[in-house]
């Protein structure tokens, strides 16, 4: 029982004082930013990254991950009480959660979403404990050529699977790769694209890009003159939160279905929690004998998506920790944070740093239990948070962003850079250029370059190394298939787009369907 011992080591690490403390801080910050509309999890994680520089890497990751899954818990609060989703994933919860508030059942909705989140998250953690070591072991035999192909595959899938123009997504990957080029080339010592700026010799920092594109741009998007948001509910008593026996019965199956959907979709690159929640909701609605209740306060309509979203969030760690390949922008950011802390991601991570991996997994359990406490008995605190006006909040966020980027390398230059990325992020958002592929390209780019060079060095410059081994042939075939598919999709949408009828992207019809 080697794994059993590892799990014990993990809990020992996660239950130590510093790990517990920072896990608590992480999930609390996460719930906080999740509750508040207009403050995203990615912005929060990137704000906190500089503060973790002095922490032990394991503790740092525990805290950063805590913000991430904590935000998923918190995000349902605002969507249920205000019909303003705290994060994109919570938009689905608002469909049935807000009607429940209008019917005076807000307490019940909040309780059910928290319990379902907990169940979904917990089951996904168990799956993660089983699958991550298996995948990592299988990946140990990979050489640089296979790694390069897997990364290319993941990057391509992650950037083309979403809604919107695939060309724009891919262009953002290329832009991310370009930004990753800035700085001194490690192999030759030549500085690339630094324009003689000393501040750029070390490259652009991940935090600067993430805070600009996700933090500042989000603020610019969220400032609206209407400040009249008030929670629609009075007092939420503990009694009003508890479901009746019949209500318990209603939520069991949707929760389990949602968990399964979330776990599978969350582990795939590019899809992530958002798509998982939409699909879980759609499946419940189709399953139901009374689909007309959906959108009017159906319990299943909040149980399934919340379970899906939390299970997806946990299972997204599987490819990230076993292969070093992140599925979405947040995972990419956590991966980047690991690298900043000197941890090399990839299948060797589990072997080289078992106490870190298992400590992180154990902290997920602890974090989920803490979140249960934070979100049920203390829900009143978060409801009160909702009345903080945004016009006090956003100047504070601007300040934290400035200090955050400054503290990376003590360069004022980075503050100017974050301002520029904020404007770029806003323009991208308005013209439907997605920001997530950019971040993925930026983080994966240098790793891909390294593997590509190493593969060709091993083969003495011959490309045949990319199709010499069965695994790489399969990967190459998958990649080619994906390329063909997306070329076909672009071609079709162009044909359909000719003057009279413009085709809607698939995702849009999906979401329409669920409303």
């Amino acid at each position: 029982m080697e794994m059993y011992a590892d799990i014990l080591i993990g809990f020992e690490r996660a239950l130590s004082f510093d790990a517990l403390l920072f896990c608590f801080i992480g999930v609390t910050i996460g719930t906080f930013v999740g509750v508040l509309p207009g403050v995203g999890a990615l912005a929060a994680v990137s704000l906190c990254l500089p503060m973790t520089y002095y922490l032990d890497p394991t503790v740092a990751m525990i805290m950063l991950a805590g913000i991430f899954y904590g935000a998923q818990y918190g995000s349902s609060t605002a969507s249920i009480l205000l019909n303003v989703p705290g994060t994109v994933t919570a938009a689905v919860t608002a469909l049935d959660g807000y009607p429940m508030t209008q019917q005076g059942r807000a307490g019940l909705a909040l309780f059910v979403t928290t319990i379902c989140s907990f169940v979904g998250g917990s089951i996904a953690i168990i799956l993660m404990m089983g699958f991550t070591p298996l995948i990592a072991r299988a990946a140990l035999s990979f050489s640089s050529a296979e790694y390069f192909l897997i990364m290319a595959f993941g990057l391509f899938l992650a950037s083309t699977i979403g809604s919107g123009s695939q060309l724009k997504s891919l262009a953002m990957v290329a832009l991310g790769l370009t930004l990753g080029l800035v700085g001194t080339d490690l192999n030759s010592g030549v500085s690339r694209f630094t324009f003689g700026q000393v501040e750029l010799y070390d490259g652009i920092s991940l935090v600067t890009i993430a805070m600009g594109l996700f933090g500042v741009a989000e603020i610019l998007n969220s400032i609206v003159d209407d400040t009249s948001r008030k929670p629609a509910t009075g007092k939420i008593t503990f009694k009003s939160m508890l479901p009746s026996k019949a209500e318990w019965k209603v939520i069991v199956k949707p929760t389990l279905r949602g968990t399964a959907i979330g776990a599978v979709i969350g582990a795939l690159p590019g899809s992530g929690a958002t798509i998982a929640t939409f699909i879980a909701y759609a499946v419940e609605k189709r399953q139901s004998k009374t689909p007309e209740r959906f959108g009017k306060g159906a319990l299943e309509g909040i149980a399934a998506p919340e379970a899906a979203n939390n299970s997806a969030v946990q299972s997204a760690f599987v490819p990230t920790l076993s292969l070093g390949i992140p599925g979405d922008a947040l995972m990419a950011f956590l991966l980047g944070a690991m690298m900043i802390h000197g941890v090399v991601p990839g299948p060797r991570f589990l072997i080289d740093q078992p106490q870190m991996f298992w400590g992180l997994v154990a902290s997920f359990w602890i974090g989920n239990v803490l979140l249960l406490i934070l979100n049920i008995p203390l829900i009143g605190v978060w409801v009160r948070m909702l009345s903080i006006p945004y016009n006090i909040l956003f100047p504070a966020m601007l300040f934290f962003i400035c200090i955050g980027v400054y503290s990376i390398e003590y360069q004022v230059f980075d503050i100017a850079l974050v301002m520029i990325f904020g404007i770029v992020g806003l323009v991208m958002n308005r013209l439907a250029y997605p920001a997530a592929p950019l971040l993925l390209g930026f983080i994966l780019g240098p790793m891909m370059e390294e593997h590509f060079k190493r593969a060709l060095l091993m083969s003495r410059g011959s490309f045949s190394i990319f199709w010499e081994r069965p695994i790489s042939v399969v990967l190459l075939a998958l990649l080619a298939g994906l390329l063909l598919l997306s070329a076909r999709a672009i071609w079709k949408s162009q044909r359909a787009a000719s003057p009279s009828s413009l085709s809607e992207p698939q995702m849009q019809s999906q979401t329409k369907d669920t409303q």
Binding site: L181, R192, V216, L220, N391, F394, P395, I423, L431
Partner: protein
């Protein structure tokens, strides 16, 4: 933030769409050109310019594709929130310009005070109080607490 749907049925792409795609195209060309200047190397020993050339060409090609795609629809307008854009940019810029010469406290006061007016409904009193509160918080947390190498005031 999730990417929104790209093509809005029946909407013609506006000048911003074309301008951004064209800018990406030019950026791609520039990156590729600069990469070629620092040395592409050979496949066996790749130079520092190899990846820039590859990425730059890719970016330029994708941008051409986008330009082509835009003919069948896109965003007609940029629809940028002008006031927040101007005030937030100004507030961040002011902070960057003043934090070294004037110190953290004055820079924070300026940042918060200017930034707060990104919202039209902001009052002088509220902006002032927010700024003072943040400056105090920043002083305690970041100078006394985290000991950032910044002066609280000039001098």
């Amino acid at each position: 933030m999730e990417p929104q749907e790209n093509t809005e049925p029946g909407q013609r792409s506006g000048p911003w769409e074309y301008a951004v795609a064209a800018a990406l195209f030019l950026l791609g060309l520039y990156v590729a050109f600069e990469g070629a200047n620092v040395g592409v190397g050979t496949l066996r020993r790749m130079g520092p310019g190899f990846l820039p050339v590859a990425v730059g060409c890719g970016l330029a090609l994708l941008a051409l594709g986008i330009l082509f795609e835009l003919r069948s629809g896109g965003r007609p307008k940029l629809d940028a929130p002008v006031r927040p854009l101007v005030m937030v940019t100004l507030s961040l810029g002011t902070f960057a310009a003043t934090v070294a010469p004037l110190g953290l406290v004055p820079a924070t006061l300026l940042l918060a005070f200017i930034g707060a007016f990104a919202e039209r409904a902001m009052t002088l009193r509220r902006a002032g109080l927010t700024a003072i509160g943040l400056a105090a918080l920043g002083y305690v947390v970041f100078i006394l607490g985290f000991k950032l190498p910044l002066d609280a005031f000039w001098g």
